[in-house]
């Protein structure tokens, strides 16, 4: 009886030893769902080039990514916004110095149902719509229909960009619908002829009508030349200046023919 138990334990221990005995290096990437498609594709391409390195990618949001950097549970944090003052304070308190790397640009595009005839809205009109001051499409030259305003949850990176660039610190009115992801906004707008929403560039599809802002279309060129008013930088944060595998990955990400090509494939705007 006792001997058997001993045997089982010996086998278990040796199996455990074997499984951890493979000398693969690990790299953890965590954070914003906006950056997730880029990180996912980049990780796959990276692992093809360096088969010894095991990259695991997960979402969870910009805030969670930063938190994971501070806690030391991830090597790279993806964020769709810059780190906040409070987060920096918390990091420094724990002796961590997050280093940002801008890896791509993204445009945030106002979208309507394809049946809506409106093609262009000014920033002021968008602001008034999201403040609940303009409530009917006919006030901006459309059909006589109530406007259904769809916004993102107040803590998403996309919302913060919208808030600072369009709302100019005014509040989105409480009657606005809230959706928890870019995909959900796209879904809701494509099913509702009353609706207006905003999504990242990569979420545009033929069931959505992207409109111009102040007469400028959301394209790669207009974002790079800063003519398009609602664009942002996407970041990867590392814990201190990167070294080893983390540095290898960041270099891969910034390489014009490798990582930056993947950025374009994922539907975002490469740095150069």
């Amino acid at each position: 009886m006792k001997l058997n138990l001993l045997k089982v334990i010996t086998v278990l221990i040796s199996v455990l030893c074997l499984s951890t005995g493979a000398w693969a290096e690990n790299l953890e990437i965590k954070g914003s769902t906006t950056v997730l498609p880029i990180a996912q594709k980049a990780a796959e391409a990276f692992m093809k080039v360096y088969p010894d390195i095991n990259v695991s990618v997960s979402g969870g949001g910009s805030g969670n990514g930063i938190k994971a950097i501070i806690d030391g549970t991830t090597d790279i944090a993806d964020t769709s916004r810059f780190i906040k003052g409070k987060e920096v304070a918390l990091a420094v308190e724990k002796g961590v110095y997050p280093v940002p790397f801008g890896i791509a640009y993204d445009c945030i595009v106002p979208v309507l149902h394809p049946s809506n005839p409106i093609n262009n809205l000014t920033i002021n009109q968008l602001k008034a719509i999201y403040e609940g001051k303009i409530k009917n499409w006919k006030q901006v030259g459309g059909p006589d229909l109530q406007i259904v305003v769809i916004s993102r949850d107040t803590s998403s990176g996309t919302y913060e960009v919208w808030e600072s660039l369009i709302m100019n610190k005014a509040r989105v009115y409480p009657g606005a619908l809230l959706q928890a992801s870019n995909g959900a906004v796209a879904q809701a707008v494509s099913k509702n002829k009353y609706a207006i929403g905003y999504v990242g560039l990569s979420y545009l599809n033929k069931e959505l009508k992207a409109i111009k802002v102040d007469g400028v279309e959301a394209t790669m060129e207009n974002a790079l030349s800063k003519a398009y008013p609602v664009s942002r930088v996407l970041y990867m944060f590392t814990k201190g200046w990167p070294s080893g595998v983390t540095l290898q990955f960041i270099n891969f990400m910034m390489h014009p023919a490798k990582g930056q090509k993947i950025v374009a494939e994922a539907g975002y705007i490469p740095l150069y």
Partner: protein, 297 residues
């Protein structure tokens, strides 16, 4: 030899005791964590402003942490879903326990229980993609993502809970009561209404309340189909944002240990208190109105 057996018996008792203890310890740890992360927000806003504040702007400067619209939304969604789910669940249970033939019962009961095993994200997706456009067309309203849609989807989720527990309650009514009623000349229908339902009332109430506490805590469905506007609705077709939806949508991006983070945990505390009240009521009713046996010859 005897001593060894006694020892073994004691040993097994302790093992079971430890297993029972584990779940209690885990519950206490979660509670401790919830309150530790939630209470600091009350250094910023008073309990009254938090519970009855009308505006929820956690990220603006200065922030507003008023969850009144969220509490109202949670309660309304739960009540409306109960209005749909209670008749549906209880009547199905009566039918299955009393009226249905054995063959129908063997077929229908697993079906109802299968409804319980549908993942909430599937029900939410159904509400978002199928029910919302339908409601919008049928009632000519601006958005199908609203209080009504969410209540309907939550009702689908609580019907199996209500039905299964009610059915057990009705089936456990002593058969002598029914026989006595029939022997006195009452019809089947009269026996059901006058004898069987009153006798199983405590079980039925427990079923209803457990079903409702499932609805109030449900997250995915309300996140997807309730619309998410943080205001007190003026009609059943207005979008609302119940507490779990707010927590789920915002927690991922809230700065760690920031005010917003604490406020979301405090919302979780409020939600916990609501569920606790529901469970206490269920417990109280099931103890108070218990049918205690039947006398036979």
């Amino acid at each position: 030899m005897n001593k060894k057996r006694q020892l073994k018996d004691r040993g097994i008792e302790y093992i079971f005791f430890i297993f029972a203890l584990i779940s209690i310890v885990i519950l206490c740890m979660i509670l401790f964590f919830l309150f530790r992360e939630g209470l600091p927000v009350f250094g910023l806003v008073s309990v009254k402003d938090f519970l009855f504040g009308e505006y929820w702007y956690p990220t603006s400067e200065p922030p507003d942490f008023g969850i009144f619209p969220l509490i109202v939304a949670s309660l309304l969604v739960t009540m409306c879903s109960a209005a749909v789910a209670i008749p549906l669940g209880v009547m199905t249970a009566i039918y299955l326990a009393e009226i249905a033939s054995k063959r129908i019962k063997e077929f229908a009961k697993p079906m109802v229980e299968l409804l319980a095993s549908l993942p909430s994200v599937v029900i939410g997706f159904f509400g978002m993609v199928v029910v919302a456009p339908f409601l919008q067309e049928a009632f000519d309203i601006p958005t199908g993502l609203n209080l009504f849609n969410a209540s309907l989807m939550l009702a689908f989720m609580s019907v199996p809970t209500i039905c299964t527990i009610s059915e057990d309650a009705i089936a456990s009514v002593p058969v002598e009561l029914k026989e006595a009623s029939l022997a006195l000349g009452a019809t089947h229908w009269e026996s059901i209404v006058r004898v069987i339902i009153p006798a199983s009332l405590s079980g039925l109430s427990t079923a209803v309340i457990l079903g409702m506490s499932r609805a109030i805590g449900e997250t995915m469905v309300v996140l997807m189909v309730a619309g998410g506007a943080a205001m007190v609705p003026s009609s059943v077709f207005d979008p609302v944002r119940p507490m779990p939806a707010s927590i789920a949508a915002e927690m991922a991006e809230a700065p760690f240990r920031g005010e917003h983070y604490h406020a979301l945990f405090a919302t979780g505390m409020v939600l916990f208190v609501f569920t606790l009240i529901f469970n206490f009521i269920a417990d109280y009713i099931s103890n108070k109105h218990r049918q205690v046996g039947a006398s036979t010859l």
